[in-house]
Symmetry: C2
Subunit: 136 residues, 2 copies
DNA sequence: CCAAGATTTATAATAATTATTGATTAATAA
DNA sequence: TTATTAATCAATAATTATTATAAATCTTGG
C-alpha cells in the first residue's frame, strides 16, 4: 500500500492527515529497519523540531489501529513497528539485535477462527542468530 | 518436565538450587495462567516475606536462559512466563486480557536453520477474541 | 471570520526493568 | 570444623518506556 492510499484510509475513518501523521507515514514507508518509537522520533525531529514523543506514540498507535502499521513486541521492554502489512514473520538476531523479515509457510490462518477463538492477527517471532553473525 | 529434573538442570549448569529458585520453580510448575513478574512476586511473598522483586526478576531470567521457562512478550510493556516448554503457541484475548495455550500446526522447525539463520526459539502469538468473550 | 472539536506539545506521573551495593549464604579446601 | 572465596540475595536507587494531563494550536464547517 502506498502512502496516498494510507492517507485515504485515515480520512475515511475521520482522522485528519496532519503534518505529523504524514511525517510518520513517510518515515515508515518502505523502512525495513523495524524502528522503535524512539527511533521514529529521532529520525524526524531534525526536520520537525517541535515534534514531541507523545505525538509519535499517539500516531504510531493510531496507524496500528487503522491497520497501516504492524506493532511488534519481539523484545522485552521495547516495541517496534513495521510498515509491511502483508503476512510475513520476524527473525530477531540475539547477536546483532536486528530484526529481519522472513518468509515461512505457516498453516495458521488469518482472520478466521481457531478452536472457536476469533483471530484478528497473527505474529510469529523466531529468535536466533542471523547468517551474518554466524559466519563472523 | 518435573521439578526434580529442572533442579538437576540448574546444578548441571553450576547454579545452586536456592530456596528462592525452588519457590519460583514450584510456583510456575503446572501454572497455566502465564503470570507476570509482579504476579509471581505477589504469589510468593506471603510464604517468603523477605523475597524481593529483584530476585524474582533474576530468577525468572535465569530459568529462561536455562530453557526451563518460556518468556512471552505478547503484550506491550508486560512480559509474562510459561512453564510449558514444549512447542505450542499463545492466544491473547483483547477483551478479557487472558493468554491461552493453543495448538496449531505450523511448519516452522525448531532448532534448525531458516534461510541460513540459526533458530533457537520460535513463538507464535495470535491476537483476537476468545470463544468465551465471543459468546458473552 | 468564528466556534467547536481534534490534535499537538510539554510536562508530569506511572510502571516496568535494570543496576548497584552491602549483607548473607553456600561451596571448597585446609 | 573453620577459614576463605565465590555466588546469591535483598533493598534501594536509577533508568527507561509508556501513559495521562492540561494548555496551546490547528482544522474545518457554518
Amino acid at each position: 500500500m502506498i502512502t496516498s492510499e494510507k492517507i485515504e484510509r485515515l480520512k475515511e475513518k475521520g482522522h485528519t492527515p496532519t503534518i505529523q501523521r504524514m511525517a510518520v507515514l513517510e518515515f515508515m514507508e518502505g523502512n525495513l529497519s523495524h524502528p522503535s518509537v524512539e527511533e521514529v522520533y529521532q529520525g524526524l525531529k531534525a526536520k520537525y523540531p517541535s515534534l514531541s514523543m507523545a505525538t509519535v506514540y499517539a500516531t504510531l498507535e493510531l496507524l496500528r489501529d487503522l491497520g497501516l502499521l504492524r506493532e511488534l513486541t519481539i523484545l522485552r521492554s521495547k516495541v517496534c513497528y513495521d510498515s509491511v502489512i502483508h503476512a510475513h514473520h520476524h527473525f530477531f538476531c540475539k547477536v546483532c539485535g536486528r530484526v529481519f523479515d522472513i518468509s515461512v509457510d505457516c498453516a495458521i490462518p488469518k482472520k478466521d477462527l481457531i478452536n472457536g477463538n476469533k483471530v484478528d492477527e497473527f505474529q510469529a517471532y523466531i529468535y536466533g542468530t542471523c547468517s551474518g553473525c554466524l559466519s563472523a
